[in-house]
């Protein structure tokens, strides 16, 4: 129920209270309105979603867990290059700003995969980077991950019962510090939430519809950037040829590549031809950073 509806429902009670109250001071009226607004606000927050700030803290912990399983690359040039492409893609995504911003990091492994931790930290493996053939394809992979962030797919992996339980601890009145008992309960729920997201990202993967939606969003983002949106398709076709050789990775956490190709094939937006000088400039910097 929306705040407006709740406010309308509360209005008769407020007026009745006013009609019966001592109207000797304007301060009393203000107090009554304040009380009514509190009721409206608390009721509307009873089943609120996870805020962007909370998503950020869950994402940090998920990222910390991922970095417990993989090594960060020491390749400074490649890190800078991936960050520049990633930030360009993020600015053109459906959600250019998140609470803590977008960050991109490379995991040093032959496994072919990429992960979007809730809130904005995106990991791509060096194996995945080596599977791309151009800057546009690398941008396509990052745009797909940025779409998972803007659609909050990671945070959606948290079991609803867990979040409902967290809300009962969090309560509805303003407070930044919790008692030790409350913190202990929240930490346990926090830990469970991290496990929910981690399992989805690294072990089980998102649902088929979430992956298709991320692909569809990625081609739109690529077009907005000025990248070739067909790059996602060419990348998926190469991935399909190589599928199975990586042992797990993206083949374990994503729908069959052939299905993704079939889904996206008719949904590539038409764009103006890219200037040959731009193609050349991208090829040169891709070659310098990746090969």
């Amino acid at each position: 129920m929306t705040k407006k509806c709740l406010a309308l429902l509360c209005a008769p009670f407020l007026l009745a209270a006013l009609a019966s109250c001592d109207t000797s001071s304007f301060g009393n009226i203000s107090q009554h309105i304040g009380t009514a607004m509190t009721v409206v606000d608390q009721t509307s927050k009873a089943a609120r979603p996870i805020s962007d700030e909370e998503e950020y803290y869950v994402g940090r912990a998920v990222a910390a867990k991922i970095l417990g399983s993989y090594q960060l690359t020491t390749n400074a040039q490649l890190t800078r290059y991936v960050n520049l492409i990633g930030r360009t893609v993020a600015l053109n995504s459906d959600k250019p700003y998140t609470y803590g911003g977008y960050h991109f990091a490379i995991l040093e492994t032959n496994e072919i995969n990429a992960f979007a931790a809730p809130g904005g930290t995106i990991f791509i493996t060096s194996g995945m980077i080596r599977t791309t053939a151009s800057e546009d394809e690398l941008a396509a992979v990052l745009a797909h991950e940025a779409a998972h962030i803007s659609k909050r797919d990671g945070i959606a992996a948290i079991k609803s019962a867990r979040w409902t339980e967290a809300l009962t601890v969090i309560g509805t009145t303003a407070a930044r510090n919790y008692t030790s008992g409350e913190v202990s309960q929240l930490v346990s729920l926090f830990e469970g939430s991290i496990d929910d997201v981690f399992k989805t990202l690294v072990v089980n993967g998102y649902g088929r519809s979430q992956e298709y939606a991320a692909d569809e969003s990625a081609v739109q983002t690529l077009a907005k950037c000025g990248y070739d949106p067909r790059a996602l398709l060419s990348f998926l076709k190469r991935l399909e040829q190589r599928s199975g050789s990586s042992g797990g990775g993206i083949t374990a956490t994503h729908p069959a590549t052939a299905d993704r190709i079939e889904n996206i094939s008719g949904k590539i937006p038409s764009t103006a031809q890219i200037h040959p000088r731009a193609i050349e400039a991208r090829a040169v910097r891709y070659g310098a950073a990746v090969r």
């Binding site: 705040k3 407006k4 406010a7 007026l15 006013l18 109207t23 304007f26 301060g27 009226i29 203000s30 107090q31 309105i33 304040g34 607004m37 509190t38 606000d41 927050k45 996870i50 805020s51 962007d52 700030e53 803290y57 940090r60 990222a63 910390a64 867990k65 417990g68 960050n83 520049l84 930030r87 360009t88 600015l91 959600k95 700003y97 998140t98 609470y99 803590g100 911003g101 960050h103 990091a105 930290t121 800057e135 809300l167 303003a174 407070a175 930044r176 510090n177 919790y178 202990s184 929240l186 930490v187 926090f190 950037c225 000025g226 990248y227 890219i274 731009a278 400039a281 991208r282 910097r285």
Partner: protein, 154 residues
């Protein structure tokens, strides 16, 4: 009877005034008010999480806002619109943040929860996460990268 009618009229005016006061609240750790509605436009003022800005109009994906003496633009994804304004007596004293907004700020999974979790799980690589988050990518470099690669300015 007359008194009650006057007070009821006052409430209606009071409520209408409150509803008209349109504000947006910053929902990113930090952000900027830009001179015009573009990502790389010059910065007129810096804002932080939970700062409230007066929304003047909307231009595409950008809000034209007033922040202190500065008027400029902020992207819609950096703010949250709150149409239900609240009376002054309902706001926290000495703060620009109303209680309804502050109720969410720092609540739930917050730095206190993360700190306790970290103590219980020293094996978690939060130090590396901090280094990933601190990796500098200046706006100027992104803008140059876009131009050099023949990409479109967002």
């Amino acid at each position: 009877m007359m008194k009650k009618a006057i007070f009821l009229s006052l409430i209606m005016v009071f409520t209408a005034t409150a509803a008209l006061a349109d504000t947006v609240t910053v929902i990113t750790k930090e952000n900027a008010i830009r001179e015009y509605a573009k990502f790389f436009a010059p910065v007129k003022a810096n804002v932080r999480y939970n700062d409230r800005l007066e929304a003047l109009s909307m231009e595409g994906d950008w809000y034209k806002v007033k922040c202190g003496p500065s008027i400029g633009y902020i992207h819609r994804s950096a703010v949250e619109k709150r149409v239900v304004a609240v009376p002054a007596s309902y706001s926290r004293k000495g703060s620009s943040v109303s209680e309804s907004e502050a109720a969410l700020a720092g609540k739930g999974f917050n730095p206190q929860v993360e700190a306790t979790y970290k103590k219980q799980h020293p094996e978690m690589k939060f130090g590396l996460v901090d280094s990933v988050e601190r990796y500098p990518v200046p706006e100027r470099d992104i803008a140059q990268f876009i131009v050099a690669g023949g990409l479109r300015q967002p």
